[in-house]
């Protein structure tokens, strides 16, 4: 095991493969603290990378913002056309709001994941020339997309007002829901970024996976329409429950919709059990992502 220890101005990097378990655990905890300190130390770099990203996106302020809204609004209109005019039996009240409050967080997730995957390889000129905590690259991608998402939320609130859907007290849960999504996204992004350094076709595969994932996530349909019991080979499945358990994004997206839209008459309380469950899942994904990333980021400098 390789350990990093930081005392005052001295930095010791040592590799010792034969440490007892307890010592390893101690080093691991110490490692987490050191990493967090390191991130804090490099906050200026994070800010620089996030602004760079946003600068490119919003090159000329107003038009840039409109442009970043173009994709979700167009998607919203297409889905509305398909599920109201073309298939009227779908019958969801205020469909544009219904679908937009799922599309925006999904786009945030999808853009962050695709961006994170490429982040290490695309920045090879930095990674193999200077040291900085490598996790800064995927993290700043997620943060830039978060800012973008927050800007887009303004459009969603405008739409909610326009459809006269009352905002309830549950809207105050929004920051918590966003926090859970950020945790999950960073965790998942760290795993994918690492994989792409070693297997460069991860990027191509994930583009397809993200499309499939989109359909398995309640975006243009609601979790409520999924069957509560479905028979395969004589075994009955609670599909709605399993989708939530297997796919954290289903829970997250559903939470957004529940607190902002409810069943079309205004926000409602989310399912507390699943909310906590998703939070725990997201934290676990972050922990796994961070350990994988830290373990392998030591060799990024010689791999890219």
């Amino acid at each position: 095991m390789v350990t990093v220890e930081k005392n005052a101005a001295t930095l010791v990097i040592s590799a010792n493969k034969h440490l007892p378990l307890l010592a390893r655990l101690k080093y691991m905890l110490r490692g987490i603290v050191v990493r967090l300190e390191d991130l804090w130390h490099y906050r200026e770099l994070i800010r620089n990378l996030v602004t760079r990203d946003l600068k490119v996106r919003y090159r000329n302020s107003v038009l840039g913002v409109m442009w970043s809204l173009f994709n979700p609004l167009l998607m919203m209109m297409v889905f509305t056309l398909v599920f109201t005019v073309l298939t009227p039996h779908f019958d969801v009240p205020n469909f544009p709001v219904f679908v937009l409050c799922a599309i925006l967080p999904w786009n945030f997730f999808s853009a962050s994941v695709i961006g994170s995957i490429r982040s290490i390889v695309d920045n090879s000129s930095l990674v193999n020339k200077v040291y900085f905590p490598r996790e800064i690259l995927p993290i700043s991608i997620v943060l830039a997309n978060l800012v973008n998402f927050l800007v887009a939320l303004i459009a969603l609130f405008a739409l909610i007002l326009f459809f006269q859907i009352p905002l309830t007290i549950w809207v105050f849960l929004l920051p918590a829901v966003i926090a859970v999504q950020v945790i999950f996204t960073i965790g998942f992004g760290l795993i994918m970024a690492t994989a792409n350094v070693f297997y460069r076709d991860t990027q191509v595969i994930m583009e397809v996976v993200m499309m499939a994932w989109f359909f398995f996530t309640p975006i243009f349909y609601s979790l409520a329409i999924l069957p509560r019991s479905y028979e395969i080979w004589g075994v009955s499945f609670d599909v709605a429950r399993w989708v939530r358990i297997v796919n954290p994004m289903a829970s997250i997206i559903d939470n957004y919709r529940t607190i902002l839209y409810g069943i079309g008459q205004g926000g409602a309380p989310p399912d507390f059990y699943f909310f906590m469950r998703t939070l725990v899942t997201s934290l676990i994904v972050l922990l796994i992502g961070a350990s994988i990333f830290y373990r392998y980021s030591r060799s990024f400098g010689e791999e890219v």
Binding site: T10, V12, I13, S14, A15, Y42, L45, R52, L126, G301
Partner: protein, 274 residues
């Protein structure tokens, strides 16, 4: 006063051979059937390297191409990690490693100055104060607002050197980069290095220009095939080095020593290939 700022204790570094490295799932699939692609193809670029560099020293690292000099500098700057051993570095470090100084190709020179500053831990305010001095020293004219990808290697080096020396480092690593600059700029760099020596900055210097090394460095470390061959005063080391290599008709035919690849598993050729 001798305070060690860089120490290597039994540091070894093993690399994978990139030619045989699996880069995609497709290759992974193929390698499941091709035995000769399997197994570990690695070699030791550094073997149990030990040395100490004290505060304020200027040390030269000499050796033929492939002897591990750049690997040592990359280990010190934490771009790569040692396979075995302990490296201790204390103090703010800035490094100028082989071509390119860690710039983002899409950003302009000016934006890269700030990016570089933040990588070295300086905030925007501090960098703004140094901006003029950096641009002045690099002296690349209106190119400062052009994306780095349009720079020549010499221009990149000028800007890289300028940033590296203006962020007030306590340690600076310089890897064969000065040779890229034109005559005037080389002089300017050497003057700057002398100035930093006076300020007590610790300098580790890789160059093939022995005259330059003799003028600048107090001490030299000679690396050969990833091992420390000798360590001592600059004059002694260069003399010993020349003695060995000058017998072999001139500089051009320096033996391409490198490090002999150690293939750990027997390369059993098989006929299972697809």
């Amino acid at each position: 006063m001798t305070r060690p700022v860089i120490t290597f204790e039994n540091v070894s570094k093993e690399f994978k051979l990139s030619k045989l490295r699996v880069r995609s799932l497709q290759e992974m699939f193929v390698s499941m059937f091709k035995k000769e692609l399997r197994g570990k193809h690695r070699f030791w670029a550094l073997k149990e390297v030990n040395f100490t560099i004290n505060a304020g020293e200027t040390v030269a690292l000499v050796g033929t191409n492939g002897s591990g000099k750049s690997t040592v500098l990359k280990l010190i700057s934490r771009i790569i990690d040692p396979t075995l051993g302990i490296i201790t570095v204390s103090g703010r470090l800035s490094a100028l490693l082989e071509l390119g100084a860690g710039f983002h190709p899409d950003l302009s020179g000016r934006e890269n100055i700030f990016l570089n500053g933040s990588i070295l831990g300086l905030d925007r305010k501090e960098m703004t104060k140094k901006l003029d001095a950096i641009i002045d020293f690099a002296d690349i004219g209106e190119f400062i607002d052009v994306p780095i990808r349009n720079y020549s290697s010499g221009m990149q080096m000028r800007l890289g050197f300028s940033v590296a020396v203006h962020v007030e480092p306590q340690i600076i690593l310089v890897d064969e980069v000065l040779a890229v600059g034109d005559y005037n700029f080389q002089l300017k760099c050497l003057n700057k290095i002398r100035e930093m020596q006076k300020q007590g900055v610790t300098i580790l210097f890789v160059s093939h220009d022995f005259e330059e090394i003799q003028k600048l460095c107090d001490r030299a470390i000679w690396l050969n095939r990833g091992e420390v061959m000798a360590e001592g005063s600059t004059d002694d080391i260069i003399k010993a080095f020349m003695d060995i290599y000058q017998s072999k008709e001139g500089q051009d035919s320096f033996p391409q020593s490198g490090v002999i690849p150690i293939v750990e598993q027997n390369m059993v050729t098989s006929d299972v290939g697809i």
